[in-house]
Structure formats: structure tokens, C-alpha cells
Symmetry: C2
Subunit: 238 residues, 2 copies
């Protein structure tokens, strides 16, 4: 057991507009400097992140392997953790934010737990938790539901389902959408939800253009909507 | 509108064993140094945190007001945000971790949104998101449910309810317990849950004694349990 590596979960910035050490604690630096093996969602952005963060080793000396939405559980994941079985530690880096949340990172974490490999999550920006904090909605009970369904009928049903659950269980319901569909989603939400339902929109979190508001649907309908298009956003019903 | 203050949500460490700047990004420092008014869950721990963090102003020059579980929505909350209506900014500090999550902070955030006051959440340690990251369970869909009910029958029902929902909706279900009841809760979970259900236990997050494991209930039953008593923990069913 004692000669297994450790799997570190290494957050990176959410927004390209921030420098790494504005949003990451200094304690992460020593961990990052100590690693030469990284399991990453996207090679290019992981290399750029480590380089901007100023890790001590040259990027060319580091080994990178990809774990993304095309990776399936099984042999590919076992191969990723094989070095840890031999005592080498690894860092998991997501495309943006914290690994293991709203990304494929959980596959490798699951395999690590099965093998008794220690998993260490580091602190960093999570748009989900930032959205809960800033929502003013129920932070004692909340759910992140990932992407809304794309097909119109299912999508409508999902919106009504989250509204009902938010009301019945007093549980804030969060979800996301591909940024180019945000404006359409907002129109659908304002059409479908009840006037008294409270709706959170949190955009560009941690960026200079960050914009967050929670309003009753009736009030959203009366205000000029902000530009939502192509800006990463989290929506919440509470 | 333009002469309203801003409401900053200021995380602090989860564990007494870490120094603030190990787990908080440097970007938070300038915000903290710029404030002279703090809305805090606990006066003593907020003062100690700001002092350990080395904020520039003397602690005696800062104004603190409490927002805790005894605060009710209404006049008390309006009084807390009155200074923001006059252009003064405020920082919200929770007992531990990020404000607005699993604490009474949402009350003041809600009031800020109603008045059009800008709300800015800063990055910091959230035991909930760290637990999701490190769980290896579904990070694409998860719910935080707060405390389990205390009464035995309701408690049993809640455990079965979360197990059913985790299975039916493939949604990781997280909950917490008062630390002195952890060992009892663990015994109840191992007795009540199905053998194939996966159970996460994440203790002392960010502390040197951090301990995290996800196992099938059948495997938990076969292993020697770690010491759970009086250690802050998050449990998850996935």
C-alpha cells in the first residue's frame, strides 16, 4: 500500500481573463511542482495552464495523457492509473475549474479508490459553488443537474420538473447549457416558469465581466435582459 | 444604483490546521484589505481569521455584525445591508469555508439581490465541492442535502430515500451530520444500505489528517472503520 502514488485533483482557472494565482491558493504550487505526470481533459489547455502558473519543470519534461468524454471505463482508465500502482503520483486537470465535477475526471478517481490509491482534492474555483454562494437561494440544500436535455419536449418537462422539485423540497436546482444556447434557454425559462419562482443567472464567474442576479420570474420579465450569448453561465431555480 | 456598496462573499479555511493563504487565493487579499465592514456568522472566529490572514487595518478599526442561525429574515437583515445602500461595501464571513453554503449567509445575499446590490463570491475551500471532486461518484449530477433528520424513523427513511434517488436518477446524494454522531451514522448507513450501493466518507478535508474513501457498502462492512468521531465529515451515496 505504502508505495502507491497519490492522485491529486488540480483546479485551474474558470476564466481566461484571470491569472492562475489570482484564483488558486499558493498551497497548490508545491503539489504542482512535485508532479511529472498529468491526466488531463485537454492537452493544449493543460499545458498552457501549467506554463502560465510557472511550474518549475520544463513542460517538455512532463508526461500528459488525456481523459476526456471519449474515454470509456475499463482498460483505458486502468492504463491511466497504472503508473500510480508503481508509486508515481499524478495530477488530474480539467478543461476549466475543478476536476471531477461536470467533467469526465470521476472515471480515474473511481479507479483510484478501487485500488486503494489516495485521492487529494485541491482548492480552486468551481462555478457551481460560486453560483450557490452568490444566489441568495437555499445553500442548505441544492442540486447540480448538469445540462438540460436538448429536445424541446424533454427540455420543457425538465424545466417544469426542476421548478416543482425546487418548490416541494426547497432545494435549489442548478443546471447549465452550451453558451451559444443561453439566450434561447433564458427565453424558454421566462415563458415556462411561474411568475413567483426565483431564477438565478450567474455568468462569467471570476472574470472581470462577471454578472450575477437572482430575481422572481415576474421581475425578470420586466427588465432588460443582459447579453447572455456565448458567456459561460449557470442557471438556478429556487 | 452606482453608489451602492458591493457584497463580497469571503471564504475562510475549513480546518484550523491550515494557514489562510494555503487554501485561499492571493486575489482575495486585496478585497479583504479594502473592507471595514463585515457580516459574520461568528465574531470570534471571523476576527481570528482576519488577523491570521494579516489584513492591513487593525482589527479594532473594523466593524463586525453577526448573522447567524438566530437571525430571521426581515428587519434584522435589512439593518445589516443598510450600510450598503449608502455606498459602503461589506464582506460576509462564515464560521468555516464559503459563505452562503450550509450556513445562514443566503439571507443577506437574498436581500442584496432584492436591492440591486452587486454580489461577488470569492474562491475558497468548500468541503462539499472537495467531497464531490474526490468521490469518484457522479460529478455531473449531485445534490447536497444538509443534515440528516435526528429522529430514528425519519432518519432511516431519509437514508433509504437518498439511496433510491441516487440509484434512480444517478445523482450523488451528499449529507452531513454533527461530528459527535458520525460513528453512529456510519453504523446506521452500513446496516441500512444495500451491499452494492457506493458510500463516500470524506473527513477533515484540507487538514493534514484528511481521509477520503469511496467503497461499496459490502466492502465497507469487511474493512476496519477509521476513527470517525468528532471529525468534520461529509457522507455521500452514489
Amino acid at each position: 500500500m505504502s508505495n502507491l502514488g497519490t492522485l491529486y485533483l488540480i483546479p485551474c482557472p474558470i476564466s481566461d481573463e484571470t491569472t492562475p494565482w489570482e484564483v488558486l491558493p499558493e498551497g497548490n504550487r508545491a503539489v504542482m511542482n512535485g508532479l511529472d505526470y498529468f491526466i488531463v481533459e485537454n492537452l493544449r489547455s493543460a499545458r498552457r495552464f501549467l506554463s502560465k502558473a510557472g511550474v518549475e519543470r520544463r513542460i517538455e519534461e512532463l508526461e500528459f495523457r488525456e481523459l476526456n468524454e471519449h474515454t470509456v471505463a475499463g482498460a483505458a482508465v486502468e492504463a491511466l492509473i497504472a503508473p500510480l500502482m508503481e508509486g508515481r503520483s499524478a495530477g488530474v486537470i480539467s478543461e476549466a475549474g475543478v476536476p471531477g465535477v461536470a467533467d469526465p475526471g470521476a472515471l480515474v478517481v473511481e479507479a483510484a479508490h478501487r485500488r486503494g490509491i489516495r485521492v487529494v482534492p485541491l482548492v480552486g474555483p468551481s462555478s457551481i459553488i460560486l453560483a450557490v454562494m452568490a444566489s441568495g437561494l437555499n445553500g442548505q440544500s441544492f442540486a447540480f443537474n448538469g445540462y438540460l436535455p436538448v429536445k424541446p419536449a424533454e427540455r420543457q418537462r425538465a424545466i417544469r420538473f426542476y421548478e416543482r422539485r425546487a418548490a416541494q423540497e426547497r432545494q435549489l436546482q442548478l443546471f447549465i447549457e452550451a453558451p451559444y444556447r443561453n439566450a434561447k434557454l433564458m427565453a424558454e425559462l421566462l415563458q415556462t416558469l411561474q411568475p413567483e419562482t426565483r431564477l438565478l443567472v450567474a455568468m462569467d464567474l471570476t472574470a472581470p465581466t462577471e454578472w450575477i442576479a437572482t430575481r422572481r420570474v415576474a421581475d425578470w420579465r420586466k427588465t432588460t435582459l443582459p447579453d447572455l450569448q456565448r458567456r459561460p453561465a449557470i442557471f438556478g431555480i429556487g
